[in-house]
């Protein structure tokens, strides 16, 4: 499964033209924001054990950083791509 994902990663990217490299990097950047899901899992795991405030703080920080990655990543990509839409030939 891991190898399949790696292969698909190579395959999908190797076809993208230079024009779209910046938005593409930005989009893959947003996709690794899936780490937010990991942060949510770890928060849930933390809820099941006794722990101090430091761990809670770290877990909230993990969710925050993950959310910045997801929301910021997609928003920046969207902004970049909006500029492509306004081009003259109507596509």
């Amino acid at each position: 499964m891991l190898l399949l994902a790696v292969f698909v990663g190579f395959e999908v990217i190797s076809k993208v033209p230079t024009t779209l490299h910046t938005p593409l990097m930005s989009a893959t950047n947003a996709i690794h924001g899936i780490v937010l899901a990991g942060a949510i899992v770890i928060v849930a795991a933390l809820a099941g054990v006794t722990h101090g405030p430091l761990l809670t703080t770290l877990a909230v920080a993990a969710v925050t950083l993950g959310a910045i990655n997801v929301f910021g990543g997609f928003a920046v990509t969207e902004r970049m791509l909006q500029m492509f839409r306004r081009k003259g030939d109507g596509k």
Partner: protein
């Protein structure tokens, strides 16, 4: 319920892959991004269902803060600052991976129930995530020009890096060997060492190499996320992380190839240790250059039959893309053929110039890649270099001692006339002299790129 969640993950992954596929073409790229967003939403709902909302206050607080900060910054940032924003968001992802490992470890440590797979993945995702976090922040500070963009080197740098690396390896091996049964200080020290390595790794890299570094750090974060997936037993994270790790690697390699330099060379030194800026082209003294005026250049442009614009970072900084388009419109009205030469690493990111020119509604068929445009220069009357430097430096072809020797460049010097718009005679971001400026067919028009282009447009209009 778990079947439904697995199914949601599957759909999310399919949407990510299809979305990236749609980013192949400008016509479908926006839809691609929307699809990926949809995939992310499905995956996140799936994970919240799976955890049953346990610990929800932390999740709500984190998403609220992160969402507002992330979106606000993304909407407010200037187009020229996009590259460093990508670096920052990437760093956030790496930081999240490192923090997940930290929390995961200190949750499990008291019971000492960490198996070998979890131990290895904990250590790796913490190390790689932390390197990506601090490295991205340094990349941000360099591009934002908070700190110098030049390579930062000092005596004994390699030794210091070696010591930090050995500390990381030692602590990491100790951690895995004892399955995490260590004194409490060990893991924070490991994190700290990895953060330091990220800083030390990015500091000596400067100038033209920054796009490669951001791409590499992006793929680092992907790998860290995939490993985090092993640590918390999440197929979703493993697959998505591997997808980004692989695609980021491809992009990084493509970029290094565009510069004709092996990746190791980019990372470990050429710019850092090649002795800085040796004057090229055998001129010992100050460069012999010819300054010109906007009116002279306007005449040259207006009566040309083919003009090639060569945009670079200077155009991005001055936000001159709309002015450039206005000048092109004026020239085309007079029957001049206008082309744009896009070097793969012009600006601070691959595709940086394309994005800016697309914003100004420059038609795609006028943007030519390096291979295509280099055959056009010998028949061009004027090559107008707008704030590009290193990517036009002929020293890359001939001067073997030059740090950029071997990098494919735009052959602007083959054009009948070269006009360089530049703020001053300062060397480029990479800190290398450009012998192009001394050529007999080159003249310089000093000033802010936008102001110069606007002056040219006005002068052409007045002719």
């Amino acid at each position: 319920m778990s079947v439904a969640v697995d199914f949601a993950d599957l759909i999310a992954i399919a949407l990510f892959i299809y979305g990236l596929h749609e980013l192949n073409s400008p016509a479908t790229a926006r839809r691609g991004n929307r699809l990926a967003m949809g995939g992310m939403a499905i995956a996140l709902v799936g994970i919240i269902v799976q955890t049953g909302g346990a610990g929800w206050p932390s999740v709500v607080i984190g998403i609220a803060i992160g969402g507002v900060v992330g979106i606000y910054a993304a909407l407010k940032v200037k187009m020229t600052a996009m590259p460093q924003m990508v670096a920052l968001y990437n760093g956030a992802g790496g930081g999240a991976a490192a923090l997940i490992s930290t929390v995961r470890y200190f949750t499990a440590a008291p019971a000492a129930n960490i198996d070998a797979i979890v131990a290895v993945s904990l250590v790796l995702s913490a190390i790689i995530g932390a390197i990506s976090f601090s490295g991205s922040i340094i990349a941000f500070l360099k591009l934002q020009e908070v700190m110098t963009g030049r390579p930062v080197t000092y005596p004994g740098q390699q030794i210091v890096n070696g010591i930090v690396l050995i500390a990381i390896l030692g602590l990491g091996i100790w951690f895995v060997a004892t399955l995490g049964v260590l004194p409490n200080w060990a893991f924070p020290i490991l994190l700290l060492a990895a953060l330091l390595l990220g800083v030390f790794f990015t500091l000596p890299i400067g100038g033209a190499d920054m796009p490669v570094v951001i791409s590499l750090l992006n793929s680092f974060t992907g790998v860290a996320v995939a490993i985090t997936g092993f640590e918390i037993n999440s197929t979703l994270l493993i697959i998505c992380g591997a997808l980004v790790g692989a695609s980021g690697t491809i992009l990084t390699v493509a970029m290094s190839r565009a510069m004709n330099r092996p990746l190791t060379n980019v990372l470990f030194g050429a710019f850092g240790s090649a002795g800085g800026s040796e004057p090229a082209a055998g001129s010992g003294g100050p460069q012999q250059i010819r300054a010109t005026s906007a009116d002279d250049v306007a005449v040259m442009l207006a009566y040309a039959s083919k003009v090639i614009f060569v945009p670079g970072y200077g155009m991005a900084v001055a936000q001159a893309q709309h002015s450039v388009k206005a000048l092109a419109d004026q020239l085309e009205k007079r029957g001049v053929k206008v082309l744009y030469a896009i070097h793969p690493v012009a600006g601070r990111m691959p595709g940086h110039m394309n994005v800016l020119l697309a914003e100004a509604n420059v038609p795609y068929n006028q943007l030519l890649d390096m291979e295509d445009v280099n055959t056009e220069f010998p028949t061009a009357d004027v090559a107008l270099v707008i704030g590009a430097n290193d990517v036009t430096n002929p020293a890359a072809r001939t001067v073997t001692s030059s740090p950029i020797y071997g990098m494919p460049i735009l052959d602007v010097d083959k054009a009948n006339n070269v006009v360089v718009l530049k703020r001053s005679m300062r060397s480029g971001f990479a800190g290398i002299e450009n012998p192009l400026y001394e050529l007999p067919n080159t003249s310089m028009l000093f000033g802010d790129a936008k102001a110069s282009v606007d002056a040219l447009t006005a002068a052409v209009k007045a002719l």
